[in-house]
């Protein structure tokens, strides 16, 4: 038994370390991708100076943010001012741990699942972490002791609480179809061809769009980025933050983007499933490739939308969340459960 224990701890540690490394690199390069893609959409070049195609830009930015002066303010409530970014980034990184990125592989006779923790209430864990994530932003705004920060934080928490409902309810249709909260089972419920994925085979197209919209609002991205609307609130809840503390909020936002993309992939687009063919090594690598491709698609969509859409007005945002998305999500649950009930 001690041996089993040791293997478990060792495997989990290695998995966590690798996933964290990959995730943070992905976050850094999502920023690069965003600047590059938006640049090209707006007929500019984006970053070009640091490295080929500006590829070393994230590294340079990271060093810059680390070396910048961490301005200490006299008016802030220090304990919470420091706790807030830690909370934001910590929770953002936590949620990736329940997401399965592939089937289990065998390393030296030990089966290794490509997922840090295969819990059977994975979706609830995700929703729980998201609902706690509001505190990072709320506390940042409050402890900054500044008008702009407080208004930004109020906007952000109201928006996140409102859209969390639609976000959670949009996933219920898939849960009814699968009969499980485990993300691994949700993925295995879907086939390898696009028409066998929940978004089409399960008739969850509407739920998919509700999820996407709510996810944009949850991550405070354009067109729902009112919490940091720079024309009215300077930078919203992180106005008073500088140096690495500011970078942590930035990291949290982009990590949340990646997580949300992973969840959308897992729940609606069949996770790592996709056409598998060719010789053995290609067969091994393809599922991971499909997963990454789908996540990349979502990240690209985020950036594309940012370059395209203007910002909502705040009353429009609230009205849209409560009067359009929520009823739609409820109707989707009703119809899905009717179809399932009649089908069985």
């Amino acid at each position: 038994m001690p041996n089993g224990w040791f293997t478990f701890v060792a495997i989990t540690t290695v998995k966590s370390a690798v996933l964290l490394g990959v995730l943070l690199t992905a976050v850094a390069y999502t920023v690069w991708l965003e600047r590059k893609v938006i640049g090209h959409i707006q007929n500019r070049w984006g970053p070009t100076r640091v490295g080929p195609f500006g590829l070393l830009q994230p590294l340079a930015d990271g060093v810059k943010l680390l070396l910048k002066e961490d301005i200490s303010l006299s008016g802030v409530y220090q304990p919470l001012f420091i706790l807030a970014p830690v909370l934001a980034v910590g929770l953002a990184l936590t949620s990736i741990s329940v997401i399965p990125i592939g089937e289990s592989i065998t390393v030296r006779g030990v089966p290794v699942q490509l997922q840090i923790a295969d819990v059977n209430i994975a979706l609830l864990v995700l929703l729980g972490v998201t609902s706690i994530g509001v505190y990072g932003i709320a506390l940042a705004g409050w402890s900054s002791n500044s008008k702009y920060s407080l208004l930004g934080a109020l906007r952000a928490s109201a928006q996140m609480v409102s859209y969390e409902l639609s976000l959670g309810l949009s996933l219920v249709g898939v849960l009814i179809l699968t009969g499980s909260l485990s993300l691994r089972e949700i993925v295995n419920h879907q086939g390898e061809w696009p028409w066998q994925w929940n978004v089409i085979a399960g008739g969850q197209l509407v739920a998919f769009f509700i999820y996407l919209t709510a996810a944009f609002a949850e991550t405070n991205r354009i067109p729902f980025d009112l919490p940091e609307g720079e024309t009215e609130l300077v930078a919203g809840y992180h106005t008073e933050y500088s140096s690495m503390k500011f970078a942590m909020f930035f990291m949290a936002e982009y990590t949340n983007m990646v997580t949300v993309a992973c969840v959308a992939t897992t729940v609606f687009l069949g996770g790592w499933h996709g056409p598998v063919f060719g010789p053995a090594p290609v067969r091994m690598a393809l599922p991971l490739f499909w997963f990454v491709l789908k996540v990349f698609f979502f990240l690209f969509l985020y950036i594309w939308v940012r370059a395209t859409l203007p910002r909502f007005r705040y009353d429009q945002l609230m009205a849209f969340g409560w009067k359009v998305l929520l009823p739609l999500a409820l109707a989707n649950i009703l119809i899905t459960s009717l179809v399932v009930a009649v089908g069985t």
Partner: protein, 164 residues
């Protein structure tokens, strides 16, 4: 073994959070202590095997309800409480009453179940089991409760709406 360590750690965190809630002067610190209490309770549920209840505890209590608490504190911009001496009668009656209540509760718990009544992970708390209970065994109470909550919501809307 690991279960015991986790239990004592989070039970201690729970009690410490509750005490901190009382001793802190600033409302926001008290609210944050309450979140710690809720979170530790969720872990204790999880240790009992009630995974669904644990998740809901985090989502509903630590997430939704406490966000509203923090929201109100932020909106009112509540400052530090001022410490008042309190009356002697309250102190004379209050402390024995609390001791009596805690003693009674402890006696009732020990008497009714004994320490053998609860086993780690022996609780029926899977999502499926709770679903069956709520939608079969306790369907009527569940529906009555939801109607009750609906009435409360409508009452709040009526009270909050401004007459033009």
């Amino acid at each position: 073994m690991l279960h015991q360590i986790l239990f004592f750690f989070f039970a201690a965190a729970c009690v410490a959070g509750a005490l901190n809630l009382l001793f802190q002067r600033h409302p926001i610190n008290s609210a944050l202590s309450l979140i710690v209490v809720m979170g530790s309770l969720a872990v204790l549920y999880l240790l009992l095997g009630a995974e669904f209840v644990a998740a809901i505890q985090v989502i509903v209590y630590a997430g939704a309800i406490m966000v509203l608490f923090i929201f109100v504190i932020m909106l009112l911009n509540a400052g530090e409480e001022e410490h008042v001496g309190g009356s002697r009668v309250a102190a004379a009656l209050g402390y024995p009453a609390v001791a009596l209540l805690v003693g009674l509760l402890a006696w009732a718990v020990v008497r009714s179940s004994g320490s053998a009544g609860l086993t780690l992970g022996g609780f029926v708390g899977s999502t499926q089991a709770i679903g069956y209970l709520v939608f079969r065994g306790f369907l009527l109470p569940f529906e009555v409760t939801s109607v009750l909550i609906l009435i409360a919501i409508m009452g709040a809307v009526v009270l909050a709406r401004k007459e033009d």
